[in-house]
C-alpha cells in the first residue's frame, strides 16, 4: 500500500488514478497511522513552498514523513513535494524544508537566458546522470511534463537526472530511499507511469 500524503495542498486525483492504472494500491490520507502502516510514501504538492511547508507542519505529518524516511521506507516527492525534501527554499524569503536531501531550492529565472519563459512549463527531455532504480524504465531523451519556477541546486551526488532549459535543471534526485521528481510523472504519459511503476517495485532499505 502506498500512502499519498494529503496535507491540503493540490489536486491528488490524477496521481491516485495513475497509480490505479499501473495496478498499485494507494490511499490518499492525512492520517499518521495510515502513513506509518504504508510500504511507501508519496509526498505531492503544488503552489508556493512556504504555504505547503506550513501546512505540512501544521498537520504534524512532516515529522511522520521524516521518521518513516529515516527508517528506510521509500519516499517519493513530486514537484513541490520534491522541493520540500531539501534543506531550504529561497522562494519569497528563506524557508526550511524537511532536510532529507542536501540542497536548496532557488529561482530559475536568474540562471537562464532572458528569452526563456518562466515557469518552465511543458514537455522536456530527461538526461540520466545515474542508473538509479527509479529510472530503470527511462532512457535519456524521454520527455516528461514540467511546471515550475524554482528548482533544486547544490544537490551534489543526489541528482540522478536533469533537463536542459538554459541550465541543467534538476529533474530527479535520490538519496538512499528518498527520491524526488521535479516533473509530474502522473502527467507524463507512459514514461511517467513507468517511473511510478519503478517506484512501486522498490523494496524498503531497512
Amino acid at each position: 500500500m502506498i500512502a499519498i500524503v494529503d496535507y491540503g495542498v493540490g489536486n491528488l486525483f490524477s496521481l491516485k488514478s495513475s497509480l490505479k492504472m499501473i495496478g498499485a494500491e494507494a490511499v490518499v490520507t492525512g492520517d499518521a497511522a495510515a502513513i506509518r502502516a504504508a510500504d511507501k510514501i508519496i509526498l505531492p504538492g503544488v503552489g508556493a513552498f512556504a504555504d505547503a511547508a506550513a501546512k505540512l507542519r501544521a498537520t504534524g505529518l512532516d515529522q511522520v514523513v521524516i521518521a518513516e524516511a529515516r527508517a528506510g521506507k521509500p519516499l517519493l516527492g513530486i514537484c513541490l513535494g520534491m522541493q520540500l525534501l531539501f534543506d531550504r527554499s529561497m522562494e519569497y524569503g528563506e524557508h526550511a524544508g524537511l532536510g532529507l536531501i542536501p540542497g536548496s531550492v532557488e529561482d530559475l529565472k536568474p540562471d537562464i537566458p532572458t528569452d526563456l519563459k518562466v515557469p518552465h512549463i511543458g514537455w522536456n527531455a530527461l538526461h540520466k546522470l545515474q542508473d538509479h532504480p527509479l529510472l530503470k524504465y527511462v532512457k535519456t531523451g524521454d520527455c516528461v511534463y514540467f511546471v515550475h519556477s524554482f528548482y533544486a541546486k547544490h544537490c551534489g551526488e543526489s541528482t540522478i537526472a536533469t533537463a536542459e532549459y538554459g541550465t541543467a535543471v534538476t529533474a530527479a534526485v535520490a538519496r538512499g530511499n528518498v527520491m524526488g521528481c521535479q516533473f509530474h510523472p502522473e502527467k507524463s504519459g507512459p514514461v511517467g507511469l513507468n517511473i511510478l511503476r519503478a517506484f512501486c517495485e522498490l523494496e524498503a532499505t531497512a
Binding site: F13, S14, S17, K117, I121, G122, W123, L193
Partner: protein
C-alpha cells in the same frame, strides 16, 4: 529544451464531441472518453475539453465525462467552457483538470483571472480569446464568437497576463474552420505582446500548416486543432514525424 505541443481540442455538448465550422452548424463526431484515450495513446501532448453545453443537465454530464477522461489519460488536461467563477474552477479541477481556460467569463468579470491565479497559481489559468479583424484592428469576441466586445486584442491579452493568466489560447475567427492555415499575422502580434506561452488555434487544415506555424513563429508554443484530428485528416504521429523532419523539437 521544451518541445512544441500538439493539442487536440474536444468540444463537448450533451456528452458528445462536436466541432463547429466557423462556429455554426455542429456535427456529432464521437465519444469523448474514447477520443481522449485515442489521442493520449497516439502522441497528443495535451488535451483541451470545452464544454459548450448550455443546460444544467448538460453541465452535470460534462463533469461526469471529465472525471472519466481524467481517470483514463495521463497527460495535461485543460478544461474550458462555462467558467464564470472560482466555484467553476473548483468544480473542474476536482474532476482532474490541470488547467482551466476562461473566455467569456473573464470578459464579463476580468477580476476572475487574478482571483483564480492567486488561488490556483498562474500555471492553472489559461486565457482563451476569440478574435477577429474589424476594420484595422483585432477585436475580441465573446459568446463563442457571436458578440463583438469592442475590446482590442493586444490590450486584452496584456491585461490578462498582467493579472496572472499563465497561457494564452488565441483562436482566430477569421481562419477558424477555413482550413487554410493558422492566422500568423494575429498570432505574431500576440507573441510579441506577451511573455507567456501562446497556443495557436483556428485554421489548421493539414500537417504542413503546423510546420509553417512553428517555422514562421518560433515563439508559438503549441498548435491546437479539432476536426482535422477527429476526422483523421491529420494523424498526430505522422504530423510529429513531419515536424521532426523539419527540425522542430517535439516529444516522440
Amino acid at each position: 529544451m521544451i518541445t512544441k505541443r500538439i493539442i487536440p481540442c474536444l468540444d463537448v455538448k450533451n456528452g458528445r464531441v462536436v466541432k463547429g465550422v466557423n462556429f455554426l452548424g455542429l456535427s456529432d463526431v464521437s465519444d469523448p472518453v474514447a477520443l481522449a484515450r485515442y489521442y493520449s495513446e497516439h502522441g497528443a501532448d495535451e488535451l483541451v475539453f470545452y464544454d459548450i453545453t448550455a443546460s444544467h443537465e448538460g453541465r452535470g454530464l460534462f463533469t461526469d465525462i471529465l472525471t472519466r477522461v481524467a481517470e483514463t489519460i495521463f497527460i495535461p488536461l485543460t478544461v474550458g467552457g462555462g467558467i464564470n467563477s472560482l466555484d467553476d474552477f473548483d468544480r473542474v479541477l476536482k474532476c482532474g483538470a490541470d488547467k482551466v481556460s476562461v473566455n467569456s467569463g473573464a470578459i464579463r468579470n476580468p477580476a476572475l483571472i487574478g482571483e483564480a491565479a492567486k488561488r490556483y497559481g498562474d500555471q492553472c489559468v489559461v486565457l482563451s480569446v476569440d478574435a477577429k479583424r474589424v476594420g484595422s484592428e483585432f477585436r475580441v469576441f465573446a459568446k463563442g464568437g457571436r458578440e463583438d466586445t469592442g475590446m482590442e486584442l493586444i490590450e486584452w491579452v496584456r491585461r490578462g497576463v498582467g493579472d496572472g493568466a499563465g497561457e494564452i489560447v488565441l483562436n482566430s475567427i477569421d481562419t477558424d474552420g477555413v482550413k487554410q492555415g493558422f492566422d500568423l499575422e494575429m498570432l505574431s502580434a500576440v507573441c510579441e505582446a506577451v511573455s507567456v506561452p501562446v497556443i495557436a488555434s483556428g485554421g489548421a487544415g493539414c500537417a504542413q500548416d503546423f510546420v509553417t506555424l512553428f517555422q514562421a513563429l518560433p515563439k508559438v508554443d503549441a498548435g491546437l486543432a479539432a476536426s482535422i484530428f477527429h476526422f483523421g485528416e491529420v494523424e498526430i504521429a505522422e504530423l510529429k514525424a513531419m515536424l521532426k523532419e523539419n527540425g522542430i523539437l517535439i516529444r516522440s
